[in-house]
């Protein structure tokens, strides 16, 4: 790509060079060009991700980053239910007896414990239904009798201190590690090949322009 492409004073220098030197220079240029994407990939693979990995040391730090912070001593005791219950009491005409100084919820009713409605709880005496991964989070209730088939490693990677008892019904283990969902990551930075194409395109355009210009110059001279 050498002989035609030269600035005013450069042409003499170019033509003054031997064929071998020119070839060497061209080879060096091509090698540099080819090295760019390789370097970019290397940077992409190690430097950037290492920095990212350092910034996000563990999942807890990601959670911390999204947290609104811990609740201070200040804003924890606001009344939330009074606004709802007040008009209801006013309508019903029932006098509110001064209850304990509760600043969060409205008047708490006094009622015998153990008589709580249980919704769809079924029988609370039964405790854990069979399909609970009991002990999945450590001892819930009495973890005396493990229900599942045994300790199943989570996702195929050993992690300290986790004894996940596979739940009955086969849902628990998930077949030895969930398959990673295939979502190609979309990077903000263009792909190396995109860069390469751009660079090569510029070079090609430049070469074309120079060739045409010099060709017309020769024709004019002739």
């Amino acid at each position: 790509m050498g002989s035609n492409g030269a600035k005013g004073g450069g042409r003499r220098r170019w033509t003054g060079m031997s064929q071998r030197t020119r070839r060497r220079l061209a080879a060096a240029g091509a090698a540099t060009l080819l090295a760019v994407p390789a370097l970019m990939v290397a940077g992409h693979g190690t430097v950037v991700e290492r920095a990212l990995a350092a910034a996000i040391a563990d999942p807890a730090s990601i959670l911390s980053a999204r947290s609104p912070g811990s609740r201070g001593a200040a804003g924890a005791l606001t009344q939330t239910k009074l606004k709802q219950t007040k008009p209801r009491y006013a309508k019903s005409g029932v006098r509110r007896t001064p209850g304990p100084r509760e600043r969060v919820l409205g008047q708490a009713r006094t009622r015998p414990t153990g008589a709580l409605p249980l919704g769809d709880a079924g029988d609370p005496v039964i405790g854990l239904p069979l399909d609970i991964p009991a002990g999945a989070l450590g001892g819930i209730g009495d973890a005396a009798g493990p229900i599942g088939p045994g300790v199943v490693p989570f996702g195929g990677t050993p992690v300290t201190g986790i004894g996940v008892v596979g739940g009955g019904g086969g849902g628990g283990g998930g077949g030895g590690g969930p398959t990673d969902p295939v979502v190609p990551p979309v990077s903000v930075v263009p792909e190396p090949s995109t860069w390469l194409m751009t660079i090569v395109g510029f070079f090609a355009a430049g070469i074309g322009l120079r060739r045409r210009r010099s060709a017309t110059g020769r024709r004019a001279a002739a």
Partner: protein, 207 residues
Amino acid sequence: MPSRGVTIATAAAAVIAVAIAAGAVVNAAGDRMPAAAPVSSSTPAIVADGVRLRFDPRPLAMPDGATRPVRSLLETRGAMRFGDFSWSEEGVPPGPVWVRVDLSKQLISVFRGEHEIGTAVILYGTDGKPTPTGNFPILARAVHHRSSLYDAEMPYMLRLTHDGVAIHASAVQAGAATHGCIGVPEAFARHLYGAVRRGDPVAILPA
């Protein structure tokens, strides 16, 4: 002279072709990077796709001192505010659902398998009526629930203890608190209600 020009053009074309081929190879390698990186495991890859952050399985602390592995967390734009939540089950394979509540961070995270599918800012109990900490299976669920104790609506209730502590929808505002329940935004509560079943574990970390 023309033959020389042709030679140069051919050489340039060859160089460009080689460069394009190299670019394609490099590009293919680049595409394989996230999958190939875990093999090295010294510098685990973190892949962010705008919705979630994916990484090698990392241990996440649980209340009893144990850990659970996590492969991805939802990506939030900075800190969440009261009433904010995020929910995305897209691309998450089926698996056991578990819930982790961190009182100190005022956050709830819902996981399916090793992937987080939902997170929200929560309300929790006052110092006088604290939220219990530890591990609790969900004892009962109810879309429409009216607290007989406090005469208040508690939609999408997930009961955790036999004395009535539950996760339910409430007006999540800064400065508010509960009597021990965990309050979540209503839209989040609807998602959560749909995702969990009775018996799914809920872990509550202390404030």
